[in-house]
């Protein structure tokens, strides 16, 4: 088991080491500024500085999108294993797939009619 994953472990640690070392190098080789002015450290505001947006609110659409993602991602999680063995189970699997998708279509139509797919 571990034997199989060992190459990925080696490759993965390399994939972690390279970006991490680049962050290190961004400290090591950085040019020192002549003097540090306060204005330089402020977040970019294109003129008007209002400070960091601690209490900023977002459109409800972002949250709706997140919820929709969970619903439809579950669909995928269930469909993948079925797709692998679809050939062995033949018509039974296809009917199961159809049944499952039909339930989702009901939810999808509901969400569509409620206007949750429109960006506001």
């Amino acid at each position: 088991m571990l034997d199989k994953w060992l190459p990925f472990l080696i490759y993965g640690s390399l994939a972690l080491a390279i970006p991490a070392s680049m962050i290190g190098m961004s400290f090591l080789f950085a040019t020192k500024p002549q003097r540090r002015s306060r204005a330089r450290m402020l977040p970019f505001e294109s003129g008007v500085s209002t400070g960091p947006p601690r209490q900023q609110r977002f459109t409800i659409s972002f949250y709706l999108t997140a919820m929709l993602f969970i619903v439809f991602d579950i669909e995928i999680v269930f469909l993948y294993p079925l797709a692998v063995i679809l050939n062995d189970l033949a018509w039974f699997a296809f009917l199961e797939l159809l049944f499952f998708v039909a339930i989702l279509v009901v939810a999808y139509v509901y969400v569509w009619r409620k206007g949750a797919l429109e960006w506001q």
Partner: protein
């Protein structure tokens, strides 16, 4: 076929470097091709044909001042680009690029790792990369960065659904989630681009959105958002975000080649060369699209993802299932 551990180490070093080199020269090729398409030269001052441009860029990025916005959360601010770049690099591990060889009596497999869940592993690593973007935007405590990261996140999760659904047809036909088996199946039967042309188109469009490429580059719409989630980043930290994006693009193109164009299979030439040729062709299409198509509006983007792409991908999957069962 099992490799000795030191073969794996050598191979990992080689592959990482090849991927990074592809990324470096992808930036140059993109600028050159875009330049030519817009009737100008593109970079041509550093070395012959501007070939040293990526190296000059690297040196420039490393020499930039080490910079923190005053309000940023330092540890997370630094961790975000590393998360993005690491997951992007690691995802390439499952892509098969050759049949596997025996060199000096040592077995060398044609990919870093061949697991039965390769496709899911790749998607999982891709999804983890979203954390880098959202943490980066949030930790820099800036209006534009935060807005940009929220947009990125919403866009990525929306199109991920269509992306994963669009390859369902391929999984049904390949009867496996292992990329090597899908490639072998295509060589034995037919390139999946023929029966899965709808799947390919859906995959390609959703993939463009997943990698924040034009015309879906809303997360960094510079006219409205300055630069998106990496507004407050500079130097090599910004470079790491760019690296993550380009490597995601390379991995996605490689996945496209693997799933729809029979991976490394092809006549006459050895496997890896075919693989690279196909990969370059797909990457060229991405550059081409960037110079051709204007950017969408954000509401158009979301509507298109949920109301057009998702139903098409679902119908494609169901239709594929129907025909596969019918023919058997």
């Amino acid at each position: 076929m099992t490799e000795a551990w030191w073969v794996s180490v050598i191979k990992a070093v080689v592959i990482v470097n090849v991927v990074l080199l592809t990324f470096a020269y992808m930036t140059l090729v993109e600028r050159k091709v875009m330049g030519r398409m817009q009737l100008r030269y593109g970079p041509n001052r550093t070395g012959p044909f501007g070939l040293l441009q990526p190296i000059a860029d690297l040196v420039k990025l490393l020499r930039k001042e080490s910079f923190f916005p005053a309000a940023s959360r330092d540890a997370l601010y630094l961790a975000a680009p590393v998360i993005s770049a690491t997951t992007a690099l690691a995802a390439f591990a499952v892509i098969p690029f050759g049949a596997g060889w025996t060199i000096f009596g040592q077995d060398v497999a044609g990919q870093i790792i061949d697991v039965p869940i390769a496709l899911i592993l790749l998607f999982a690593l891709g999804s983890l990369g979203v954390y880098g973007f959202i943490i980066g935007g949030w930790a820099s405590e800036s209006k534009y960065a935060l807005l940009g990261s929220m947009r990125t996140c919403a866009q990525l999760v929306s199109y991920e659904v269509s992306l994963a659904l669009s390859v369902l047809g391929v999984v049904i036909m390949g009867q496996s989630l292992s990329l090597t088996e899908i490639v072998a199946k295509q060589d034995a039967t037919i390139w999946f681009v023929v029966p899965q042309i709808v799947g390919l188109l859906t995959f390609f469009i959703a993939g463009t959105a997943e990698t924040n490429r034009a015309p879906f580059d809303l997360p960094e719409a510079e006219q409205e958002l300055v630069a998106g989630y990496h507004t407050e980043y500079g130097g090599m930290r910004f470079g790491l975000f760019q690296m993550a994006e380009y490597i995601n693009l390379i991995t996605l193109s490689a996945l496209c080649v693997t799933l729809f164009f029979a991976g490394w299979h092809g006549p006459f030439l050895p496997g890896p060369i075919w693989f690279v040729l196909k990969l370059l062709a797909i990457l060229f299409v991405f550059i081409w699209m960037r110079t051709t198509l204007p950017r969408l509006r954000y509401d158009q983007l979301m509507r298109f993802g949920w109301k057009v792409l998702l139903p098409i991908a679902t119908v494609n999957a169901v239709a594929t299932a129907f025909f596969v069962v019918l023919i058997d």
